[in-house]
């Protein structure tokens, strides 16, 4: 079994709250392997972005506490020095942010921003770096890269901005690309293009991608493996095929069921999971999902065990024997009470 590219164990993150620290991320364990795409899916507030930002040391040290361990290419990064982190950022691990309009500094041209990243890690001359930037813009499918490089972010369309961000992220050939909801701020047609682009680049550049999203459709298209997060925990993990064919956790069932069906009889109402995720400081002691779970039992008042199998796991009391029964029980629709 080759060493995973990124190996996270027992990651817990707390933020400073008015009445003491609030635990936002609870005991996260996951790996990212070479040349694979891992999708992290969950609702807003599940902590997806925070967990990945902590890998790069981008959380505010004054108001957050990070515990646990994470190693990248075998070396510890959670406790690494600022200089080590600075060298990793942009070169080994790159970040693509959610909203490219606010993620780029408005007063510098797109080319300047890419050149800045290149020059931070390579000793290239300005001209060489500029040419490389134009090259990259071309590789991400921008039609007139030389002109675009001289433009400011507000002059580009949403799709082009995101492509430019991707070009910037790839400029130093990172081994790991973290894409934080890269298509959320874009139109549906542009979404498809950007996903195509990511897939192609993963092939050509050989990097791994951690793709954060709340859209199961994106997961189906892109993922090799899937992590389902809820209320700061990983509630399910497995290969993309396995998850879609046979999910184990009721939350995942809810996510899958809520995808509007393309064929079959037209339902009266769309399916949704009733309620909303708990506030980080109001999480129930037992299973976090229990208040919204249609398959809960008395045992869910205790912290659930992790069901393990080959290459997948789920944080739930329901084991193999009861799974089928629980799954076939209809998930509630919006107008039915618990």
């Amino acid at each position: 079994m080759p060493t995973p590219l990124l190996d996270v164990q027992g990651l817990s993150i707390s933020f400073a709250g008015r009445n003491g620290p609030i635990k936002v991320i609870e005991d996260l364990c996951f790996q990212v392997n070479e040349q694979e795409t891992l999708c992290i899916v969950g609702e807003s507030g599940s902590g997806k972005t925070v967990a990945l930002l902590s890998m790069l040391g981008l959380l505010d040290p004054l108001s957050s506490r990070v515990e646990g361990s994470a190693s990248f290419k075998g070396a510890n990064i959670l406790g690494a020095s600022q200089e080590t982190l600075r060298q990793i950022r942009g070169r080994e691990i790159a970040l693509i942010s959610q909203d490219p309009m606010t993620a780029m500094i408005p007063v510098r041209t797109v080319g300047w921003q890419i050149v800045e990243q290149i020059q931070a890690h390579n000793g290239l001359s300005r001209r060489a770096a500029w040419n490389r930037a134009i090259e990259l813009l071309g590789e991400v499918g921008i039609a007139n890269p030389r002109m675009i490089a001289g433009q400011f972010p507000h002059q580009l369309s949403g799709g082009m901005r995101q492509r430019a961000m991707i070009a910037m992220a790839l400029s130093c050939n990172p081994s790991l690309l973290i894409a934080d909801e890269p298509t959320t701020a874009l139109d549906v047609t542009v979404q498809a293009q950007v996903l195509d682009l990511l897939r192609r680049l993963r092939r050509d550049f050989g990097s791994s991608i951690v793709l954060i999203t709340h859209d199961m459709g994106v997961v189906a298209e892109m993922a090799d493996r899937v992590l389902v997060m809820y209320a700061g925990r990983i509630v399910e993990h497995g290969s993309c095929d396995a998850i879609f064919a046979d999910a184990w956790h009721p939350y995942t069932w809810g996510l899958l069921d809520s995808i509007p069906p393309l064929d079959g009889p037209r339902p009266d109402r769309l399916v949704s999971i009733p309620g909303s995720p708990p506030q980080p400081d109001k999480r129930p002691p037992g299973c976090v999902f229990a208040p919204r779970c249609h398959a809960r039992i008395a045992a869910c008042a205790e912290p659930p065990p992790r069901q393990l199998a080959d290459g997948r796991d789920a944080l739930c009391v329901i084991d193999y024997a009861n799974r089928h029964a629980g799954r076939s029980h209809p998930v509630h629709t919006m107008d039915q009470s618990a």
């Binding site: 400073a16 620290p21 505010d60 957050s64 506490r65 309620g275 506030q279 208040p291 009470s337």
Partner: protein
């Protein structure tokens, strides 16, 4: 399905923390936990109380009249009789030099000025004048600015154009020049508005002048705020529903504007006090024999090298007051609009 364990329903209930506090109570609560703002407020209270007690100090404790000259007086110090204005032994040896600080509260604590008047007593009285002018002019500025800003921002059209032009011209006039010009002109003439006669020594003149010149400074942000509010969804909806303008103003616009005004109060007071003391220093504010912190500094100019405390003391008091007002101003602003300063 097994019996329902006590989890709570799927629909989350209101967390018990949201004791639906209105924004004012919230602001007050935040303010009460701001140490430096409270300290600043305390300092200001001390200054105000001391100034208000000026008559008591002058009358009971020091036994002086701070407004009339005391050229022949004597005081008893450690058993000796010392004239308040003694013949000068410095420089060319001509003229008189007033007594220096005795550091005794019951007599000429900070010494005398060149008219033989007790500096500390005048300092306290000066506080009354300066603080009164500062507060009154702040009130005028805020009321006028709110009126102008709301009219311009809410009604728009030609009203906005005219008002903005007037504000532009007013603001383009270098502010101190405007204050000085108006002061000079108004101080030299008796203003008779029918039965109302305003004497040149009245404090009304500096109050109105200082109040008016800063109107553009506050009116512009208010106008901007009202413009933004007017374009907001809920106001547009209200207009579309036919809610009469005075209701929209009262219910939606005014509360927000009042919040902005409250934040402006300490800052404008600081600014107005600074302006008043500068004008008084130039003999264009409070007139003799009245006292303000600025006039005392001016009085001390001729005594600067021999009796520096006359000019120094009021300056120190001004600094402390303005610093306290600024810290208070920061605290008030933070109380209404806190940046989440999380501390682990």
């Amino acid at each position: 399905m097994a019996t329902e364990p006590a989890f709570g329903s799927a629909v989350p209930t209101l967390s018990d923390d949201s004791r639906a506090r209105g924004p004012w109570t919230q602001a007050l609560h935040r303010f009460s936990r701001d140490g430096s703002a409270l300290a600043a407020a305390l300092v200001l209270v001390v200054v105000v109380v001391a100034s208000l007690l000026a008559p008591i100090y002058a009358g009971r404790i020091a036994g002086v009249d701070p407004f009339s000259s005391n050229l022949e007086g004597e005081i008893t110090l450690a058993g000796e009789n010392i004239p308040v204005l003694a013949p000068s032994t410095e420089g060319l040896g001509i003229g008189v030099i007033p007594i220096g600080p005795t550091w005794q509260l019951n007599t000429y604590f900070l010494g005398a000025d060149e008219q033989g008047r007790d500096v500390l007593a005048r300092l306290l009285y000066g506080g009354r004048a300066t603080l009164f002018i500062g507060s009154a002019s702040t009130a005028i500025t805020l009321v006028l600015a709110a009126f102008v800003g709301i009219c311009a921002g809410f009604f728009g059209g030609w009203i906005d154009r005219v008002l903005s032009r007037v504000l532009d011209i007013l603001w383009a006039f270098p502010i101190y020049l405007l204050a000085i010009s108006l002061s000079i002109v108004l101080l030299n003439s008796r203003i008779e508005l029918g039965p109302l006669v305003i004497d040149s020594s009245s404090l009304i003149i500096p109050i109105i002048i200082i109040g008016v010149i800063y109107v553009p400074y506050v009116a512009r942000p208010i106008r901007g705020q009202v413009l933004a509010l007017r374009k907001s969804d809920f106001v547009t909806a209200a207009i579309g529903l036919g809610v009469p303008p005075h209701r929209i103003l009262a219910r939606d616009i005014l509360p927000n504007v009042i919040t902005t005004l409250i934040v402006f109060v300490p800052l404008m007071m600081a600014l107005n006090i600074a302006t008043e003391t500068a004008l008084s220093f130039l003999s264009l504010g409070v007139q003799s024999p009245g006292a303000s912190w600025g006039t005392i500094i001016r009085d001390g100019q001729s005594l600067l090298y021999s009796r520096p405390w006359v000019s120094t003391a009021p300056g120190l008091v001004i600094i402390v007051t303005i610093v306290a007002l600024n810290i208070l101003g920061d605290g008030v602003r933070d109380a209404f609009d806190p940046r989440a300063k999380l501390r682990p």
